[in-house]
């Protein structure tokens, strides 16, 4: 082994990068020039930010496909994500907007996003997002607008959305959502605009709370949706 002599790092670069010299076992006689005895491996320090919102977004990004490179500015080494593009912060450097509509992004909507507790606008419309809507999005208690329309989302509308007390705009149309409309949504007293059209929802349409004001177009093209609820007469998830 060569490793007996003390390790010397090469000429110092201003950023002390963790250069590690890996010892290798002695080579066989037939391979004296194929490889040097030492493999120099540069394990660059990830030096990730300690900002939890930046970490959440970066973790999500790692699972996305981004053919047009709209997320190129998402550099995890920055102290916060406020200078990332398509991210907007408030004066306390907390993420309040995520604008990725029409961006050709695909992948799933990550549960990590539930960690952005001050998020007000979640704009992911007209992309290729697949999979389920994570229940963690219900933790976004400051959310004003959630636009997930025009994707390929499946599964049910999470019941946890009942916690989105500030929500005014909820547009989930043009996806493949199934199941019934969660009754818990009737408690979203601030909800002003709802669009669930062009999905595969079933059951009946609630009529309480804000649902009293939504036009029927909001529920169009859900072939298994049976029209407004007749309270007490039939179960709301009939036909599901």
């Amino acid at each position: 082994m060569d490793g007996v002599s003390p390790l010397r790092l090469p000429f110092p670069s201003p950023l002390p990068s963790p250069l590690l010299i890996f010892p290798r076992y002695p080579r066989m006689a037939s391979l004296p020039v194929l490889l040097p005895c030492l493999l120099l491996l540069l394990a660059a320090s990830p030096a990730l930010s300690t900002n939890p919102e930046g970490e959440a977004l970066h973790a999500w990004r790692a699972r996305l496909t981004d053919p047009t490179n709209v997320l190129q500015s998402w550099d995890p080494t920055l102290v916060n994500p406020c200078t990332w593009f398509h991210v907007t912060c408030d004066s306390q450097n907390r993420v309040i907007r995520l604008d990725l509509g029409n961006s050709n992004v695909s992948g799933s909507i990550g549960p990590e996003l539930g960690g952005l507790e001050h998020l007000q606008y979640l704009e992911l419309y007209r992309n290729n997002f697949q999979g389920k809507i994570p229940a963690e999005l219900g933790n976004l208690r400051s959310l004003i607008s959630m636009d997930l329309y025009g994707n390929q989302l499946q599964g049910e509308i999470p019941k946890s959305f009942a916690k989105l007390k500030s929500l005014r705009f909820l547009r989930l149309n043009n996806n493949r959502l199934s199941g019934s409309i969660p009754r818990e949504l009737v408690f979203l007293s601030n909800l002003k605009v709802l669009d669930l059209s062009n999905n595969d929802l079933c059951g009946t349409i609630p009529i309480d709370g804000p649902f009293a004001n939504f036009p029927l177009q909001s529920f169009d093209n859900n072939s298994r949706l049976n029209g407004p609820e007749l309270q007490g007469l039939v179960p709301y998830d009939i036909g599901c």
């Binding site: 003390p6 010892p23 037939s30 550099d75 406020c82 200078t83 029409n102 007209r126």
Partner: protein
């Protein structure tokens, strides 16, 4: 592999007379050859006066009949050629061994005269040219070794007629072309070595004939294609070398037939697919090297059957899944190397139980759980690298007893626990890397017993307490990084004893006090980072004490300049050595201007950051005149006066930050020389006068021009549009008048989106940063700066229309024209700016409707159009409907529609309506009319049909009414 031993031993029964004449001429031939050699010192016995017969000469052997049969001169310092050796005088020569000399020239064709040659070794010389065809006449040849020469040309196919060949070694030459199919004739071949040549194809059908083959070495040739399946027929093979051969495809499962294989090298190819499970049949194999390929899938558990395996190297592939537990059953395993894969899960629980494991390299995988308890069983472990995984738990308790270990790398995992109790006696420990974990506790004075320690990294943990003074006895220490912990206390004076220390990084802790004077003794110091502490002291002392110091970061401390009165004498004295400092980062300290004359002495200074200090007064001429200077940051000080005019010699300046001082005067004309300037920030000063027109022609590489918050007047020179690299133009908060130049459409770097990775567009590890108003907030841009494009002309007195040409700058991320006197309409094509995130046109006199194109700018997240004269319906669209704060439209009396509460009267100017919705409404209205009337009809008539009494009552009523009506008539 082991060289294959064989003893070609032949006895020749020859007529005595020929033997005698042969020997006589042989002596002459040898002496003739000797005289052609350069300084043949080893051949002093070769002399006709010494002896008429050469049989007792050095390196010569004769047979019983006195005939020369062997010439063995390995490593004898022979320098010359073979051309002058008369082989016809050596007709009985069977062995010629000239290994390891300095012979050059070609292989002479005359060698064929030695037709009885059995053994020919010319390896490790400088023989060049092609191999002569005449070699084919050496039909007795069993052993031909021409390796490590400069032979060229195609494979010497004539030698395939030497059908007795057992050992053929052409390795380490420059042969090219394909391997001939005639090789298959060499059916007795035991060793075939063509490693390190330029052979470009493997011959499949030839292989199968070599049934005696023990060793096949083809490493490092540009062979292509797949490994032929016929390889499985070489059942005697002990060693197979196919490393660096450009092979593709999968590893054939027939490799499992080579059950006598001891050594298998397949490294650095483009193999794909999994390791065939048949590999488990190679029970003699000691070395399995398949690193640097594109292999994937799980590691087959059958690998545990390879009971002779000592070295397993599968690094640099895409293997996934867990390491099979069978690996821990390998009785002889010494080295397990799996770095750079996608392996996950726990390590085999009994790994290391064989008591022989000395190397475990697990770095850059996704392993989790704890390190297995037997890893350092028997204290054999020397190298443990497990960095960049997801290991958890405390540092393993067995580390304490792992006394023979040399290097430990466990950085970037989730190890926790008290670091001071994790180790024991490790007299040979050289490297301890534990950065990026959650280790707590304190630094232990007991570590001073590790006298071999050269590298200690504990950065990015939660270690607290003080640096033990005992660390001063770690005299081999070269690299010490304790940054980003919770260390407190002062720097112990004893650290000055670390005579080998080249790197010291204590940044981002809570270390306080002044620098001990003993720091001066760190004579090997090259890089010093003490940034982000509470240290104080006099900077000038550090600058004059370390001959090799070139990187200094003392940012964010309380250092002062405090130069003594006689500093010039000190620097001029012979005992002071001015180091070649290149990086000097001193921002956020208490340094005053007195340091500047000293800094001017450092002619190698490239990066100087003195921002946020107590610099005051005028800026001395010399500083910006330092020839090597590239990055200068003097922001946030109290400097005043005009910029020195003597920057003529400094053409290398790349970045200059003078913002937030009290500089005045006109735009510095001395900057005209700085053609490499990339970033110029003169913001927040008192500069006045016009922006000179030459600015547009002087800085072809300029990316950022920031002149915000000065008193620049006049109009914006249209020539600025010639700054073809400009991405950020910030002229806000000045007294600029006139209109926005139409020529701005020529700012070509803004016309397209900046692509690439977020990088610090600076060199030498120093990151450029610029303060910008981004989405209404003042933010410091670092790495993302390279991707930003934007224009801020807000808070001036600009008038006229917004030129429609601005919408050609399709890459703009922000556009702020607020607080001016702009009039006319918002450019119709504003929708071209598809990457726009921030648009502020507020506080102008803009009129007309809001163009519909604005509505679908998918990334527009902050918009302000307030306080203008805009009118008409606010457009609707995917993105604009998310900008629902009405205040962004306020102060425009003519605007209507959501989110304003003011509705639009019919005919209000609008470019987009929800016509489809209205159509739907009509349909629904009609439908409900139809249903309603139908329902009413059947309620009425249904009742009459079903209820007889009602029916009678009704018709009775109708009859009576009829009667009354008509009788009155």
């Amino acid at each position: 592999m082991k060289p294959i031993q064989f003893l070609p031993f032949f006895l020749f029964l020859l007529p005595t007379c020929t033997a005698e004449t042969g020997a006589a001429t042989a002596a002459e031939a040898l002496v003739n050859w000797k005289t052609s050699l350069f300084q043949p010192d080893t051949l002093s016995s070769w002399s006709l006066t010494n002896s008429a017969t050469p049989c007792n000469w050095f390196g010569v052997r004769c047979d019983a009949a006195g005939s020369l049969v062997q010439l063995r001169l390995p490593s004898s310092g022979l320098n010359g050629t073979l051309l002058d050796l008369d082989f016809s005088a050596l007709p009985n020569l069977t062995h010629l061994d000239l290994y390891g000399n300095s012979l050059h020239g070609r292989v002479t064709p005359a060698i064929s005269a030695a037709s009885k040659l059995v053994f020919l070794d010319l390896s490790f010389n400088q023989i060049e040219g092609t191999v002569p065809e005449e070699l084919a006449m050496l039909t007795q040849l069993t052993n031909l070794t021409l390796s490590d020469n400069h032979l060229v040309g195609p494979f010497p196919s004539p030698i395939t007629s030497c059908s007795k060949l057992l050992h053929l070694d052409l390795s380490h030459n420059q042969f090219t072309g394909v391997l001939p199919t005639s090789l298959s004739r060499l059916t007795r071949l035991q060793v075939f070595d063509v490693s390190s040549n330029g052979f470009s194809e493997l011959m499949p059908e030839g292989l199968a004939n070599w049934t005696q083959l023990l060793s096949l070495q083809m490493n490092h040739n540009p062979l292509t294609g797949q490994i032929p399946r016929e390889i499985g027929k070489l059942r005697e093979l002990r060693s197979l070398g196919l490393g660096q051969t450009n092979h593709t495809g999968s590893i054939p499962e027939e490799i499992g037939n080579l059950t006598k294989l001891q050594d298998l090298q397949l490294l650095d190819n483009q193999f794909t697919g999994p390791i065939p499970h048949q590999i488990g049949r190679l029970t003699q194999l000691t070395v399995l090297e398949i690193s640097d390929n594109r292999l994937s899938g799980a590691i087959p558990p059958e690998i545990g059957n390879m009971t002779a395996l000592e070295i397993l190297d599968i690094s640099q592939n895409q293997f996934s899944g867990e390491l099979p537990s069978t690996i821990s059953a390998l009785p002889k395993l010494q080295s397990l190397i799996v770095i750079n894969n996608k392996l996950s899960g726990n390590l085999p629980g009994e790994l290391g139980k064989n008591g022989l494991l000395s190397t475990a390299q697990l770095t850059n995988n996704s392993f989790s759980g704890e390190l297995p308890p037997l890893l350092c069983n028997n204290s054999t472990l020397r190298y443990l690298y497990a960095e960049n995984n997801n290991f958890t738990g405390r540092l393993p308790a067995w580390l304490k007893n792992c006394t023979g270990i040399l290097r430990i790398g466990l950085g970037w995992n989730h190890f926790s626990g008290d670091v001071s109790e994790a180790f024991g006696a490790h007299p040979q420990l050289e490297v301890l890397y534990l950065p990026g974990n959650q280790l707590t506790g304190t630094l232990s004075p007991a570590w001073v017993e590790w006298r071999s320690l050269a590298n200690l990294r504990l950065d990015d943990n939660r270690i607290s307490g003080q640096i033990p003074p005992e660390f001063g006895n770690l005299t081999n220490l070269y690299y010490l990084s304790l940054s980003s912990n919770n260390l407190t206390g002062s720097i112990p004076a004893e650290l000055g004893n670390l005579a080998s220390l080249g790197w010291l990084n204590l940044s981002n802790n809570g270390i306080s006090g002044s620098l001990p004077s003993t720091v001066a003794q760190l004579s090997a110091l090259q890089s010093l980072d003490l940034s982000g502490n509470k240290l104080s002291g006099q900077v000038w002392k550090l600058l004059l004490q370390h001959p090799d110091l070139n990187y200094i970061d003392l940012s964010r401390n309380s250092f002062t300049a405090m130069l003594p009165v006689d500093w010039e004498e000190i620097t001029n004295s012979s005992s002071t050595y001015l180091p070649d400092v290149q990086y000097l980062l001193l921002s956020d300290n208490l340094i005053d201007s007195s340091i500047i004359p000293l800094l001017c002495r450092f002619s190698g200074l490239q990066i100087l950051d003195l921002s946020s200090n107590h610099l005051s007064g005028r800026l001395p001429d010399c500083l910006l005149d330092v020839e090597a200077m590239q990055y200068v940051d003097l922001a946030n000080n109290d400097l005043h006066g005009s910029i020195p005019s003597s920057m003529a010699s400094n053409a290398s300046l790349v970045s200059l930050h003078l913002n937030s001082n009290r500089f005045d005067g006109e735009f510095p004309s001395s900057l005209k020389q700085c053609r490499h300037l990339v970033a110029l920030d003169l913001g927040e000063n008192g500069f006045h006068g016009e922006i000179p027109t030459w600015v547009g022609d002087s800085f072809p590489s300029m990316i950022v021009l920031r002149l915000r918050s000065n008193r620049f007047g006049g109009s914006i020179p249209p020539q600025l549009s010639r700054l073809a690299s400009l991405q950020v133009l910030d002229l806000a908060d000045n007294d600029l008048r006139g209109s926005i130049p139409r020529s701005f459409s020529g700012l070509s770097a803004m016309a397209r989106r900046q692509e690439g990775r977020a990088v610090e567009f600076s060199a030498l590890g120093y990151s450029e940063s610029i303060q910008m108003i981004w989405k209404g907030r003042e933010l410091m841009f670092h790495s993302t700066l390279s991707l930003v494009t934007g224009i801020d002309l807000s808070s001036n007195s600009l008038s006229g229309e917004i030129p429609s040409e601005l919408t050609d700058l399709a890459g703009l991320l922000f556009l702020n024209l607020s607080r001016n006197h702009l009039s006319g309409g918002i450019p119709q094509a504003i929708g071209n700016l598809q990457w726009l995130e921030f648009l502020d046109l507020s506080m102008n006199q803009l009129s007309g409707p809001i163009p519909a194109g604005i509505a679908d700018l998918a990334f527009l997240s902050v918009l302000n159009l307030s306080n203008n004269n805009l009118s008409g319906r606010i457009p609707t669209g995917d993105q604009i409907q998310t900008l629902d704060d009405p205040s962004i439209y306020s102060g425009n009396a003519g605007l209507c529609g959501p989110p304003l509460s003011r509705g639009c009267s019919d005919g209000a100017g609008t470019e987009k309506d929800d016509g489809l919705g209205e159509e739907d409404g009509i349909i629904w209205f009609g439908l409900s009319m139809l249903l309603g009337s139908g329902f009413g009809f059947w309620v009425f008539w249904g009742c009459l049909i079903l209820k007889r009494s009602w029916r009678f009552a009704y018709f009775l009523f109708v009859d009576r009414a009829f009667d009354v009506f008509f009788r009155k008539r």
